[in-house]
């Protein structure tokens, strides 16, 4: 990262977790060990419940999405995020390939019957969805958990692109 990058307007970032184990959040906070100084200058974390209490969903430059989509309510929320974000990045296996959060999609008929009352009670979707099945995805960082280096590559790519636009 060039020195003058840090003097440009901060990039507005949101981090959102849907149905998953939040392992990518942990990897993200581990990457922070080495990058927190730069990220503090570079990013305005507008919405990241793991980091702060006062979260605002307004115009975002980049939204990072981890987790699969398990209910209509989650799908609606994801569409709202998409509308407000210039770029949307799906991170981790659950967001990208829908697994293992969506393992109930592959249950036997008998297993499905046994969990039916719970999926009904919480208005869960009949089938757990990948992020791209609900909204347009600009970049993907796969892995379970996400690959830290690939995440950094994606972030650096987006930073250059967004700073050229600004």
């Amino acid at each position: 990262m060039a020195e003058n990058d840090l003097e440009k307007p901060k990039i507005k970032v949101g981090w959102f977790s849907f149905s998953c184990c939040e392992d990518n959040t942990v990897v993200f906070t581990e990457l922070m060990n080495d990058h927190w100084r730069d990220w503090k200058k570079l990013f305005d974390f507008r919405h990241a419940r793991v980091l702060k209490s006062q979260n605002i969903l307004d115009e975002l430059d980049v939204a990072f999405i981890e987790g699969a989509i398990a209910s209509d309510q989650q799908a609606e929320r994801l569409r709202q995020i998409r509308e407000k974000s210039k770029k949307l990045v799906a991170v981790g296996a659950c967001a990208v390939v829908g697994m293992p959060a969506g393992q109930r999609n592959y249950f036997s008929e008998g297993q499905k019957r046994e969990i039916e009352f719970l999926t009904a009670r919480f208005a869960a979707l009949p089938k757990v969805l990948k992020v791209f099945e609900v909204v347009k995805v600009d970049a993907e960082v796969g892995g379970c958990p996400m690959d830290g280096n690939k995440f950094l590559e994606a972030v650096n790519g987006l930073v250059s692109e967004l700073q050229n636009i600004k």
């Binding site: 149905s19 906070t29 581990e30 419940r49 793991v50 702060k52 249950f107 009670r121 919480f122 869960a124």
Partner: protein, 430 residues
């Protein structure tokens, strides 16, 4: 004066995962507190069925990213007990180190990023000012400590999340001498930062006292997270051979309203319980450095969970250094067990408290059924009872906003983990 009101916190912040809270107050009395885990269930205990035993630890690791390595070790122990495998001494040392790496990283995440902003009146840890001598030092300390824990986890377990090396019957890889030397240096280097962290939480003005029962897995000789007996503050001791009986006592109620009580009462698991029940077993160097701090325990102050976590970071460092300095690691083949019809139980102390895994195997080595009981599930009733008391204490003098802030702060002190708690098949939401 509020008299009647309903209070809803849609989503708690600076905690692991997603939870909400609903409180109903009538005539200034709390009628109910519902601490709701709102993560969508991913049905891991159902997904276990029919899987080969060898696939289980990695599958169940995905219950929770934060606590993944604790889930792996609990699952491995359950599978080994079912298969009749007794792990080697070296394997047990590597598992101890895996848990030390996890605790250093995970407690530091909770203490600095989740809990500390409340003490400093900030919304986020990253709002701390790098140019302020105290806040700047804490920022540096946080990421140095986390990085050292991460380094230890990666060295011993291959990854700090969903570890690759721990396996049924042993470890796939052993740490190399040059990396061990670096790990020792890194761990030694963060000791002063950890001592500063202890002081921050010792001087914290937050307190909430309410007596409850404490429960933890306590080892025989050295404070740790992977073996021992279940002890309670009532003086009960549940030995390994009775794990099944104990497990049922905890598990059976949880398809009913009174989930996770122990002998009819709420109880608490986690760092405070461990410190209350086992502080005498801490590493001698930790005890010497933190002699005054340790006089604070036993305690019934929920916020002392934070202090207990700081002590556990130092213990994890000191004992990890001792193991790494003194033990020679040699390549060992993974031990093989026998496929048979059997039940295995694994119990570890995850960072947030006692974690139980149970697996029932069929003759062909596939899983018939299983059960996982996580710390946050066990603390749920205690959290609700604490929140009810807190709200009643605050009603006469405080605004709703203040009440909400205080509730979040208290729940944060429990360090709850909703990703873990949401794997359940059976949860009573009323």
């Amino acid at each position: 004066m509020h008299n009647n009101f309903d209070l809803t916190l849609d989503r708690l912040t600076k905690v692991e995962g997603s939870a909400s809270l609903e409180i109903r107050v009538r005539e200034n009395r709390v009628e109910h507190v519902h601490f709701k885990i709102t993560e969508f269930k991913r049905f891991f205990t159902k997904a276990m069925e029919g899987k080969p035993v060898i696939a289980l630890p990695q599958l169940l690791s995905r219950i929770c990213g934060t606590c993944s390595n604790a889930h792996i070790l609990a699952s491995i122990e359950a599978c080994e007990n079912a298969l009749g495998i007794k792990p080697s001494e070296q394997t047990m040392a590597l598992r101890a180190l895996t848990m030390y790496g996890l605790n250093i990283r995970d407690h530091a995440l909770h203490l600095y990023l989740f809990a500390m902003p409340d003490i400093f009146g900030k919304d986020a840890f990253l709002d701390f000012d790098e140019n302020d001598p105290i806040e700047g030092e804490l920022l540096n300390d946080a990421f140095e400590i986390k990085a050292a824990g991460n380094f230890l986890s990666t060295l011993v377990a291959g990854r700090s999340v969903h570890a690759l090396y721990p396996n049924i019957g042993g470890f796939n890889q052993i740490p190399g001498a040059p990396e061990i030397k670096i790990a020792i240096e890194k761990l030694e280097a963060i000791r002063p930062a950890v001592i500063r962290l202890v002081k921050v939480f010792e001087n914290s003005p937050f307190h909430f006292d309410r007596n409850t029962n404490f429960m933890a897995l306590v080892p025989k000789d050295r404070y740790g997270f992977i073996d021992g007996d279940i002890l309670t503050s009532k003086g009960e001791r549940v030995p390994e051979k009775n794990f099944r009986e104990h497990l049922e006592r905890v598990v059976l109620p949880y398809s009913q309203a009174s989930a996770y009580k122990h002998e009819g009462e709420a109880y608490m698991v986690g760092a405070l319980s461990r410190m209350n029940l086992a502080k005498d077993l801490l590493h001698p160097r930790t005890k010497e450095t933190l002699a005054t701090t340790l006089n604070l325990f036993p305690s019934t102050d929920v916020f002392y969970t934070n202090i207990a976590q700081t002590v556990e970071i130092l213990h994890s460092i000191d004992d990890a250094i001792e193991i790494l300095q003194n033990r020679k690691f040699e390549p060992e083949a993974l031990q093989k067990g026998t496929n048979r019809e059997a039940v295995g139980v694994g119990v570890v102390e995850a960072p947030r408290g006692t974690l139980y895994h149970m697996v029932k195997l069929k003759k062909d080595g596939t899983v018939e059924s299983g059960e996982v009981i996580v710390p946050t599930g066990q603390n749920q009733v205690n959290i609700e009872e604490d929140v009810a008391r807190l709200v009643e204490d605050l009603i006469p003098e405080s605004s709703k906003e203040e009440i909400v802030f205080e509730i979040e702060k208290l729940i944060r002190a429990y360090d709850p983990c909703m990703s873990c708690a949401a794997h359940f098949l059976k949860v009573d939401w009323k």
